[in-house]
Amino acid sequence: MESTDGGDEERTTKGSAWDLPDLPTGTLPPHIQLQKTRVVCNKEAPTNTENVQYAGAYAAAGVDNTVRLDDFRENFRVEVIKLTEDDMEFDLIGLDASIANAFRRILISELPTMAIEKVLIANNTSVVQDEVLAHRLGLIPLNVDPRLFEYMSENDTANEKNTIVFKLHASCAKGGSRITVKSEELKWLPNGSEFLLAKGNSASNQDSKQKTYTSFSCSQDSLPEFADNPIAPKHADIIIAKLAPGQEIELEAHAVKGMGKTHAKWSPVATAWYRMLPEVLLLKPIEGDEAEELVKKCPVKVFDIEDIGRGVKRATVARPRNCTLCRECIRGDGWEKLVALRRVKDHFIFTIESTGALPPEVLFTEAVKILEDKCERVITELS
């Protein structure tokens, strides 16, 4: 990245190599600065997409490229743009792409949630096959804080700490009309499974009560967290199956804690992603008909027209953040010389769409914690 590609730069900087100062000034020349901080989105392909990591990359210009914690502390900012129950959009400013990406990856695959993993089907006469039904149930997001539960490993027994049990019993009366079974019919069983284990195994403790598929020591709704906040699917209207008259589904669904890495059903986000802050520049003043054309070109109204007096209209960049990079404004002859589309490399517009288990802001802090954890682990391993 250190080498300058003459052809590319001509568009952005006007100076030639001869204009450069003889002695290092301690700042980068503008075209190198551009390379370092912006992705240039040309008509054919984006350039300068990479980040310069090497500390001594700009030593020749007298610029230190090391990452300094102090600088980071000083420059790093988070601005929340939008926050609703399930969605959040916020800006991460002054951060390397690798870190933003780490958050994204953790959000998608390493934040645990609860999801239905085991389905005990007592009766299913619907057209939906058992496996498919179980798969559909698994994908239903549950409105429960996963931090209150533990992972269940292979030889653990299901108890109130690691398992949530739901019951679904729906039947369609004979002679009636078809019904739709929705997620609201999943009923939480705070006392654990109601299905009895096969008799053979419990010969030893016949005096005690019949064993079920779970062994809860206390009811989950006695726990303070769930006392006034019963566990249920996040959305009540997810279609599970449709039943014709005479059909019936009776099952118990056991939800456990897991990670998106294992199966997408445990991913706490519908998706989480970021984009770099768009920067739209007008390289020359665009006036008159051209300005109007430009405004019309952009589908998301990035440009506006301002009157600069005497009826002359000039285009301005009003809402660069909206840019979806459709490259309409640089399509056509000569437009690439007038408009420059860029992305700011250390400004990320991060979006989290939560599935509902945790609010998005909590998700992000959890993700930060996980990254912290990981770093600590690396540090301890190194030392």
Partner: protein, 1142 residues
């Protein structure tokens, strides 16, 4: 993946497209609306249904009427006469009670869907002089398998709801039979036209005129060939070729001059005829009598006739020689003229090679359909039955003291027709001795892999030639196939170009009455042949009028005649499928009303102005008009391939000129059903469309609405099938949008990870988690509870709940049969059956337990597959045994190696599965479902796929299904790329479909814009789970002691010749030794060092002996592959002593 978020059986799908099909009319006059109407009237498999309906309603009556009498030879006064015949309702007799049948019932319980053939008879009873004529009505003479959806079928005319209540899928096209529970379709057979003169060359290049005559009475092939300047007749009944002039003389044309006149007075023709005339003179044949004598000598002797019946030559000429020309009262004139026309055409061809007929020309072909084939079969069986009945009656009557009351109707042999029809349909071998017909493989089991495969199977045409022939002519695409046969849909490999498929609008005709047409022709000024001299036959400006290959006469104003005939046809006075074709070159007007011609509807235009106007289409939309009204009012007509030659057909209304006579309804109808699924096929390289046609039939999806009630041996279903985002009109017309076979996957065209070379695709694990590509495989297992001779029968008993076998019987219910819903593993017993040890001999009613031996059936599935028992069905089979069918279901998610394909012949296997967080994502957070390598594009040139991506992307962003019908851009049935691009821009995408993408691994933007959007992907039936195989040690073949071959026998992987060659070249001798012997079939032999022959070890003497030297002095032990030892021994058996030098 664009999830439809709903269940498979979305009811609202049904509503959507009807509205769409009724969408506003776009171009000048949008005639597309005619298509759904056409298909509503005719259905997708109209050719089969029409043919079968014609058979059961008309043809069968004709056959019975032609053979309506059984008369006793012993007492000729006794007879039985068939008065009428009809096909009843599909039903069967169970314990003397008629039970109505539905196709679904037949499929499930393995019976034949057939209806009784009911006849009304009149017969005489009594004897001597006290004869009484009696009548019987509705007597069953056999059972006819019924084609589904035909006019006899229980499903005929039923609406969607009624069909559903009968357990039938409303979208199922019908057109096949259910024979013993399996669905069988009679393939359309392609054949050369019957009763037409075909001029071509034989192998040596001699010009010949051949006619394959086929009448109700006889079938024959007549060939007239020019050999060494002389013309001969080749007929099977003659020993050798016979000079044609002798034949002419034998038919009463004694004067050579007359023959010359008939052929035509052109001196060139006479010159060509001269050598033949001379030859005839040389043979001293001058008169009719001489000619007949001469021919008599050439007649092949009949194999069994001891005394030569006289005058065979004359009867051969009358009945066999060009049998299609009838001879009344020994008037051979018509035949002579026919021969003259043949000669003339031949000579034309000799003088001008262009006049040669093209055998591959579609107009010279006829498609034989199920109705015609069945009628041949039925005729044969009916005649056989009558003969048998007659014999039976005669033997009974021949007995001296028969009982007083003799009821002839009791002696009709009932079973032969039923059995004959059933057997022929289930084996597919048409062995009709009477018509010298021996054809194999005429029926096939209906392909039920995907809905489109089923429909495609009904339109398949099987070729007349054997597949092995290395010829290019018949395989090439014929220009005359336009609109009739699909140019894309043909298999690859040996049958390429021979097996064809019908296009969407093709109709295959059935026979039409000739009588009215003949009289009409004479009314319109056709001059009868009888009244014409030979000279007048070929006068300039006068055209011969031929009806179905028969010369009717001539007409002086052929164009006016043709126009008049066509007007009458458009007015509905003659059949709509009658074709009138003026052949200017041959100076002939061909009228055809025979069955098997392919034709298609076209809009009539007067001087280039379409007859269909805006208001017609509006009336159609309002439902006051149907397709038939269009036909009846002469706005639309059917043209067959020959008549197309007289028409100038404009593709679009706008392109019509003064001379235009017809306008296409829609250009995309030149494609068939399978090719109709491809979006933008006209942008693809043509072989790609052909590949897709083959692959669309292997795609998994929904096969029918009743798919979960079916009991097929193998069933592949997709868990969440979708309709394509980019549809075509054909898709809507055939119902593929309701029974889709694929999913809309978001595809990024980029390289990723190196696991995507050679067309492999990289898949997103989260997409798979969420249900992309998930499929269900169902297999059938059958158990039979038999009854035996001695009255004993199998029994199914309650399984033991304790003991060492209890574990394997966990899934059994108390009735001894596995319970549905249970997970079944390999070695699990699914039926606890016991068979009696003694099954023959004396009746043994109450057998004790000890007389039963267990004959349980265990499940053998692949290891690692957790299958579930889906359904258990009990039914009674034809032998009254209980038949227990199990459906085993396995749901699979895609894994590395599973095969996927887009709709553009771009197949690929899954190369690797990658976590979502590693996948690239776009600015708006879209993560692709799969990544396809861009190298798939340049060499394949599937531009259609790129447009599909653009169109689907615009589709999802604008919320409207986009269209990509073939050639649809001008008529608005395909969205133009420009418009799609505009839509994309409007929704913030780049016009070229390329997005700014971030890498999921580094988090940085990629250095290229990535072409990304949804493409409809099909999952093909080839899955690794069914194919993967490896073994260590395992079973061996008895004979050679080498490992078995093939996956099903758990066989070994062969080190073949080429692998061996590599090892030899490399010099890995020990590896060869190990592979080819140690790990294969090592064997120790004793060899005599002296004589070099094999010895043996004598265990009694505990010594090695050489049997040749009779001692054991020089015996050595050596290792040898057993196969080698076998070879040595086999060779020495053949008395080639094989001695190895040691």
């Amino acid at each position: 993946m664009v999830s439809n978020g709903d269940l498979v059986d979305q009811p609202q799908w049904a509503g959507v497209d009807k509205e769409f099909l009724a969408a506003p009319v776009k171009s000048a006059v949008d005639k597309f609306q005619l298509l759904p109407e056409f298909l509503k009237v005719r259905g997708l498999v109209k050719q089969h249904l029409d043919s079968f309906n014609y058979f059961v309603n008309t043809e069968i009556k004709k056959i019975v009427a032609a053979n309506n009498e059984i008369r006793s030879q012993v007492d000729p006064k006794l007879y039985l006469r068939y008065k009428d015949v009809r096909i009843g309702e599909p039903s069967r007799m169970v314990d003397y009670v008629t039970e109505k049948l539905t196709p679904q019932k037949c499929r499930i319980s393995d019976i034949t869907y057939a209806a009784p053939i009911l006849v009304n008879i009149e017969y005489t009873t009594g004897s001597g002089n006290s004869l009484k004529v009696q009548e019987k009505r509705e007597l069953t003479i056999g059972r006819m398998p019924i084609m589904l959806r035909s006019s006899c079928c229980a499903l005929y005319g039923k609406d969607e709801e009624e069909l559903a209540s009968l357990g039938e899928c409303p979208l199922d096209p019908g057109g096949y039979f259910v024979i013993k529970g399996t669905e069988k379709v009679i393939l359309i057979q392609e054949q050369l036209s019957k009763n037409r003169i075909i001029i071509d060359t034989d192998k040596k290049g001699c010009v010949q005129a051949s006619v394959t005559s086929s009448t109700a009475a006889t079938k024959s092939k007549t060939v007239i060939r020019m050999e060494k300047e002389k013309i001969y007749l080749y007929l099977n009944q003659f020993k050798t070729k016979v000079p044609i002039m002798a034949v002419m003389k034998a038919m009463g044309m004694e004067s050579d001059q007359e023959v010359v006149q008939m052929v035509g007075r052109d001196p060139r023709y006479s010159a060509l005829l001269l050598p033949s005339i001379e030859e005839c003179a040389k043979a001293n044949v001058y008169t009719q009598h001489q000619a007949l004598e001469y021919l008599e000598k050439q007649v092949k002797p009949l194999p069994y006739a001891s005394t030569r019946t006289e005058k065979r030559a004359s009867s051969i000429l009358r009945d066999i020689f060009i049998a299609n020309v009838p001879v009344h009262d020994n008037n051979f004139r018509a035949k002579c003229i026919y021969v003259a026309v043949m000669l003339r055409r031949m000579m034309e061809a000799i003088l001008n090679k262009d006049a040669m007929d093209d055998k591959d020309y579609v107009g010279n072909k006829r498609l034989e359909l199920s109705g015609q084939l069945l009628s041949l079969l039925f005729e044969d069986l009916f005649k056989t039955m009558n003969d048998e009945s007659k014999k039976l009656i005669d033997t009974v009557l021949g007995k001296p003291n028969r009982s007083s009351l003799f009821d002839m109707s009791k002696y009709i042999v009932r079973d032969s027709i039923t059995v004959g029809l059933e057997r022929t349909l289930s084996t597919g071998n048409w062995d009709v001795k009477r018509f010298r017909m021996h054809r194999k493989g005429m029926t096939q089991v209906v392909a039920r892999l995907s809905y489109i495969g089923t429909v495609g199977h009904m339109t398949k045409i099987s070729p007349q030639f054997e597949k092995s022939r290395k010829v290019s002519g018949p395989r090439a695409l014929q220009p005359s196939q336009w609109g009739m046969l699909c140019p894309c849909d043909t298999p690859e490999g040996e049958a390429c170009g021979l097996v064809k498929n019908l296009a969407l609008m093709t109709h295959v005709t059935t026979d039409d009455e000739e009588g009215p047409i003949i009289s009409l022709c004479y009314c319109l000024g056709v001059e009868d042949l009888e009244l014409l001299s030979g000279e007048e036959l070929h006068m300039p400006n006068s055209y011969l009028i031929m009806l179905n290959g028969l010369i009717l006469g001539k007409h002086r104003k052929p164009q006016r005649f043709a126009t008049a005939m066509r007007k009458l046809r458009r007015a509905g006075k003659i059949g709509e499928f009658v074709s009138i074709f003026v052949n200017e070159k041959q100076h002939c007007v061909y009228i055809a009303s025979d069955g098997g011609r392919v034709c298609r509807p076209l809009v009539i235009a007067d001087k280039g102005v379409s007859r269909i106007k805006e208001h017609h289409m509006k009336e159609l939309k309002d439902g006051v008009r149907t397709f038939d009204t269009f036909l009846r009012e002469g706005l639309i007509e059917y043209l067959d391939v020959n008549e197309e030659n007289n028409a100038l057909i404009a593709l679009y209304e706008g392109e019509a000129t003064e001379e235009t006579t017809h306008i296409e309804i829609e250009p995309f109808t030149i494609l068939g059903v399978c090719a109709g699924l491809i979006p933008y096929p006209h942008h693809n390289q043509s072989p790609r469309n052909t590949y897709q046609c083959a692959m669309g039939k292997q795609a998994m999806g929904n096969i029918a609405y009743n798919q979960l009630c079916r009991m097929d041996t193998l069933l592949y279903l997709l868990v969440y099938p979708q309709r394509p985002l980019l549809t075509t009109r054909t898709i809507e017309l055939v119902g593929y949008d309701k029974l889709g076979a694929g999913q809309n996957a978001t595809v990024a065209v980029m390289s990723y990870s190196g696991y995507d070379i050679e067309d492999a695709i990289v898949m997103n694990k989260s997409s798979l988690d969420r249900g992309f590509g998930r499929c269900i495989v169902m297999k059938k297992m059958v158990a039979l509870s038999q009854k035996y001779e001695n009255g004993a029968s199998d029994r199914i008993i309650c399984p033991p709940r304790e003991g060492y076998e209890a574990e394997r019987m966990q899934i059994l219910d108390d009735d001894g049969i596995a319970a549905p819903g249970e997970i079944i593993r390999t070695h699990d017993i699914y039926i606890n059956k016991q068979s009696p040890t003694v099954t023959r001999g004396a009746p043994a009613p109450n057998l004790p337990d000890s007389k039963y031996k267990p004959s349980r059936q265990t499940y053998k599935g692949p290891e690692g597959e957790t299958a579930v028992l889906d359904r258990v069905a009990l039914c009674t089979d034809r032998n009254n045994n209980m038949n227990i069918k199990f459906m085993v279901r396995h749901t699979r998610r895609p894994e590395v190696g599973d095969k996927f394909s887009s709709r553009h012949g771009q197949k690929g296997v899954c190369g690797t599965i990658i976590q979502q967080e590693d996948f690239p994502f776009s600015e708006r957070g879209i993560c692709p479902d799969l990544i396809m390598n861009p190298h798939g594009f340049p060499s394949r040139m599937t531009v259609g796929k790129m447009i599909e991506l653009l169109g689907s992307k615009a589709g999802v962003s604008s919320g409207r299904f986009h269209y990509g019908s073939a050639f649809g851009e001008p008529s608005g049935h395909a969205d133009k790329v420009e418009v799609i691009s505009e839509t994309l821009v409007k929704h913030g995408f780049s016009y070229n479909g390329k997005d700014f993408i971030y890498s999921g691994i580094t988090g940085l933007p990629l250095q290229a814009y990535i072409f990304m959007g949804p493409i409809y992907y099909q999952k093909l039936k080839h899955m690794v789970l069914d194919k993967m195989h490896a073994r260590g040690s395992g079973p061996r073949v008895m004979l050679t002691r080498q490992p078995t071959e093939g996956r099903s026998k758990n066989g070994g992987l062969r080190v073949g010749e080429m692998e061996r060659d590599c090892l030899i070249a490399y010099g890995a001798s020990m590896l060869i030794y190990e592979r080819l012997m140690i790990s294969s079939d090592p064997f120790e032999v004793k060899v005599c060092r002296k004589c070099g022959l094999l010895g043996y070890h004598n265990y009694k003497l505990k010594a090695d002996v050489c049997s040749t030297c009779k001692n054991g002095d020089n015996i050595s032990t050596m290792k040898l592959p057993y196969a080698c030892k076998l070879l040595i021994q086999s060779l020495s058996d053949e008395a080639h002593a094989f001695s190895g030098g040691l």
